[in-house]
């Protein structure tokens, strides 16, 4: 245990184990493989990346940065399998646009064109499909992106969950913009664009039969305009990430790992709305790992931090932006939170999907 990297990702030869192997050796896909945590990362690292090869994929950004015909393009794809299809504040149609548009925005690109593939389950109401399509079209118009190509497949009843959507998008990366985790250096300031956990709790409220006295709606939104406002201050932002699956905790861990720096956050600076905190308390969840949409986390050079924060707060999508911490040279790859009482704790990468605890 001389080195923190060993602790994070134990590399042990399973053949040398003398005891029954723990459940590392999964022979089938489990839900956690799609949870945005350690299992997802392993699936990509061990199965997809070696099979596909390629330097671009190996960078594992939210979007790929491509050079094509002298242009710098951002290219990204995302699939959407949310249940329920309609939830407070949005629908799978909104997510399908904003998820991909935001992946592009995290590389500094403004999305220009989307593809859209529908996988429909036999028996789903056409009216439902139409409502999702309307929502998708409206979200695309709001984000200033055109759905340029599409595809539809139908699977037998029982082989899908109503509607699955895949979208892919491309957009131009402005000159001088280079947003990558590898650019993070100790001293960078960590900014989050607003209250966290809202989208995940809005979805869970429907699933778990929670009602909210105050309205909790998904904050699903296209972040392009906010990113433009930030880049107008300086193109020299270091990295952006939208903390969707796995929440802020997973996003910070990914950035810490990819950048090789440590991250320290001050817990009480992390904006968590009371309704989110209370819903999490009732269900036994940690808001740090609850999914967000329409939020971003930025690592910004310290000298630009105040100006970037001011620009974010001047924009409706960043009105409640906060500085929550900084990148540090200590504990590379590890995220540490200072607790409200003055203690510290490690904020770990979640393993798979977050499970409600009773205890």
């Amino acid at each position: 245990m001389s080195d923190t990297t060993d602790l994070r990702m134990p590399s042990v030869d399973p053949a040398s184990w003398t005891c029954p192997a723990p459940l590392y050796d999964q022979s089938r896909v489990v839900m956690g493989h799609g949870g945005g945590g350690a299992l997802s990362a392993e699936l990509v690292r061990d199965v997809f990346a070696p099979a596909f090869g390629g330097e671009t994929l190996a960078q594992l950004g939210d979007a790929a940065a491509l050079s094509l015909g002298g242009l710098r393009l951002a290219f990204s794809t995302d699939s959407f399998v949310v249940r329920p299809l309609f939830f407070p504040g949005g629908s799978i149609g909104d997510l399908a646009v904003n998820g991909t548009v935001n992946d592009l925005a995290m590389s500094g690109a403004r999305a220009s064109y989307l593809s859209c593939g529908f996988i429909l389950e036999e028996g789903v109401e056409l009216d439902t499909v139409a409502r999702v399509a309307d929502a998708l079209g409206a979200a695309a118009r709001a984000a200033g992106v055109e759905v340029a190509t599409g595809d539809t497949k139908v699977v037998e009843a029982g082989h899908g969950d109503g509607i699955f959507i895949n979208t892919a998008g491309i957009g131009l990366i402005p000159a001088g913009v280079d947003l990558r985790p590898q650019r993070v250096v100790p001293g960078d300031v960590v900014i989050v664009s607003g209250p966290i956990g809202v989208h995940g709790v809005a979805i869970m409220s429907v699933r778990e039969g929670l009602e909210f006295g105050v309205e909790i709606e998904s904050d699903c939104a296209a972040l392009g305009p906010l990113v433009d406002a930030m880049l107008a201050v300086t193109p020299d932002l270091h990295v952006l990430r939208d903390p969707t699956r796995g929440g802020l905790g997973a996003a910070l861990n990914e950035l810490a790992t990819a950048s090789g720096t440590g991250v320290v956050i001050t817990e009480r600076e992390v904006p968590i709305p009371p309704a989110v905190a209370n819903a999490c308390a009732v269900l036994g969840l940690d808001p740090m790992y609850v999914a967000n949409e329409g939020k971003l986390v930025a690592f910004v050079p310290r000298r630009h931090a105040d100006a970037v924060l001011e620009a974010m707060r001047a924009h409706p999508l960043g009105a409640e932006a906060r500085i929550i911490g900084e990148a540090v040279a200590d504990h590379p790859g590890m995220v540490v939170a200072r607790t409200g009482l003055g203690g510290t704790r490690v904020v770990d990468l979640p393993i798979g999907e977050q499970l409600p605890r009773i205890c």
């Binding site: 009602e211 909210f212 308390a281 036994g284 200072r338 009773i358």
Partner: protein, 102 residues
Amino acid sequence: MCLAVPGKVLDIEERDGTRMATVDFGGVVKEVCLEYLPDIQVGEYAIVHVGFALQRLDEESAKQTLELFETLGMLQEEFGDPWETAAEANGTLPPGSEEALR
């Protein structure tokens, strides 16, 4: 064990012969079974675990406990700040953490 949270009873009704309530957890409202607190009234607080109210929360006791805490530690300032002491002892807290407490 036993994640249980305090919530305020909003209303009470019989359902399938079971005494149920809607309970407010700071703006989050959830259905809760009241079979184990048959005499709890609307407006009172209950400790809720996995959808069951298990005990009435005694608001007067809560108040007294907090008042007791207010009276503690007044004469101990001379012993130094416990955070600093603890930090020195186990080296966990960097300087500057004092601001983080306020």
